[in-house]
């Protein structure tokens, strides 16, 4: 078997356990922002689109598919982090009562 693959599988398994540990104890109120935050992190797929398009593909249709993939991935990343920030801003200002304005938007 390809030694690179074995290494990658090791990283995969360790990252899986890490993911379990990191999220196992969180307050209920943070569930939705965490879902949104992890959602933004898997926007990392944009890297795959960058690599495949950047290292060259033949054909107009393939290029169109990959540009659309980059657009999708970018929306996932940028939108994901911004939306998470807006959700978390509600926690930040809650004691001062500043969350009302944010909630009305």
């Amino acid at each position: 078997m390809d030694p690179g693959l074995v290494q990658n599988l090791a990283v995969l398994v360790l990252a899986g356990f890490l993911g379990f540990v990191v999220i196992s104890k969180v307050p209920n109120t943070l569930h939705t922002p965490l879902m949104s935050g992890t959602n933004a992190i898997h926007g990392v797929v944009v890297l795959a689109a960058l690599v495949v398009l950047g290292l060259g593909v033949e054909g107009v249709f393939n290029k169109v598919l990959l540009v659309v993939a980059i657009i999708f991935g970018t929306i996932n990343v940028v939108g994901g982090f911004l939306v998470t920030d807006r959700m978390l801003a509600m926690f930040k200002h809650k004691p001062a009562g500043g969350a009302d304005k944010e909630a009305d938007r």
Binding site: L5, N8, V11, L12, A15, G16, L18, G19, F20, I23, V26, L30, H31, T32, P33, L34, M35, T38, N39, I41, H42, G43, V44, V45, L47, A48, A49, L50, V51, V52, L53, G54, L55, V57, E58, G59, N62, K63, L65, L66, V68, A69, I71, G73, T74, I75, N76, V78, G79, L82, V83, T84, R86, L88, M90, F91, K92, E102, A103, R105
Partner: protein
């Protein structure tokens, strides 16, 4: 400046990037540090993108710039204009786009390499898994979005008795297509069949689920997109994708079960509705 394009440097930058993802996520466990944590993770993402653009032989800069520019221009107003109450469906939409991106990348690669000819078997399998799960996530998330946005009725929509057989047939079809593609030199229609069968699964599994259960489903689809990204990372030998994708896959699964617990719902009960295991009755147990 050849050292700038050295894979060792790029992989080191990836290590810094996923360390930032993990640290950011850890900070997001507490309300006080969460805002900063989100930006730490975002910085990690920026670094990962920058490192990727350094890879030797990168080209098509115009198209890359165009894609990033259009994505940014669409997402900023979308993220700021959405009402707080509409956040869950926005997350569903963003999640779906991530899954869709993976499906599209895998499809483009399939077309470009004449059906993954000359690719190592593990890369083909990982890519097909990524495409299948990505497509399920894309279409499932679109349904979740449409239901919460009230573009589709929130009540459960099923195929009735056909639900289970159709589900099963589509899963069998997708796996069969994947096997044909793995044997090599398959025609382009097999890949389209795989993506389409996965699309039908995504649609008919989420359509029967009621609006009240949707946040749990979105979290599940989020975890699936993460797994799909990790698989794509294995196929492309990209550590940043493997780590970030798998962390989301694992933490998303835990989060899904925590959310279900908080709502007094069980995940099997929610998903059973999607597979035709009787209608779900949200909140009756809660």
């Amino acid at each position: 400046m050849s050292w700038l394009h050295d894979m060792a440097l790029i992989n080191s930058l990836y290590i810094v990037a996923f360390a930032l993802f993990i640290y950011g996520l850890m900070q997001m466990r507490g309300p006080r540090t969460a805002v900063a944590g989100n930006w730490v993770a975002a910085a990690g993402m920026g670094l990962a993108v920058a490192a990727t653009l350094l890879i030797e032989g990168m080209g098509n800069w115009l198209l890359i710039g165009l894609g990033i520019a259009i994505g940014t221009v669409i997402s900023i107003p979308a993220a700021y204009r959405v009402k707080m109450t509409a956040m869950p469906q926005m997350v569903a939409l963003f999640n779906g786009l991530g899954g869709g991106a993976i499906a599209l990348i895998s499809w483009a690669q399939f077309r470009d390499t004449a059906g993954y000819a000359h690719e190592p078997v593990h890369a083909v399998i990982a890519s097909l898994f990524a495409a299948l799960v990505g497509s399920i996530s894309f279409w499932g998330s679109l349904v979740a979005y449409a239901k919460l946005q009230e573009l589709l009725p929130g009540r459960p929509m099923t195929l009735g008795r056909a639900q289970q057989p159709v589900n099963l047939a589509m899963i069998v079809a997708a796996v069969a297509a994947a096997i044909v593609i793995t044997t090599g030199g398959a025609s382009g229609w097999w890949m389209i069949a795989l993506l389409a069968a996965a699309a039908v699964v995504g649609l008919i599994v989420v359509l029967p689920i009621g609006g009240a259960d949707m946040p749990v489903v979105i979290s599940l689809l989020n975890a699936l997109t993460g797994l799909s990204a990790a698989a794509k990372g294995i196929a492309l030998d990209n550590t940043a994708l493997i780590v970030a994708g798998m962390i989301v896959g694992a933490s998303g699964s835990i989060l899904t079960s925590l959310m279900a617990q908080a709502m007094n719902r069980s995940i099997p009960a929610i998903i059973a509705g999607g597979f035709g295991g009787g209608t779900t009755t949200p909140s009756s147990s809660g």
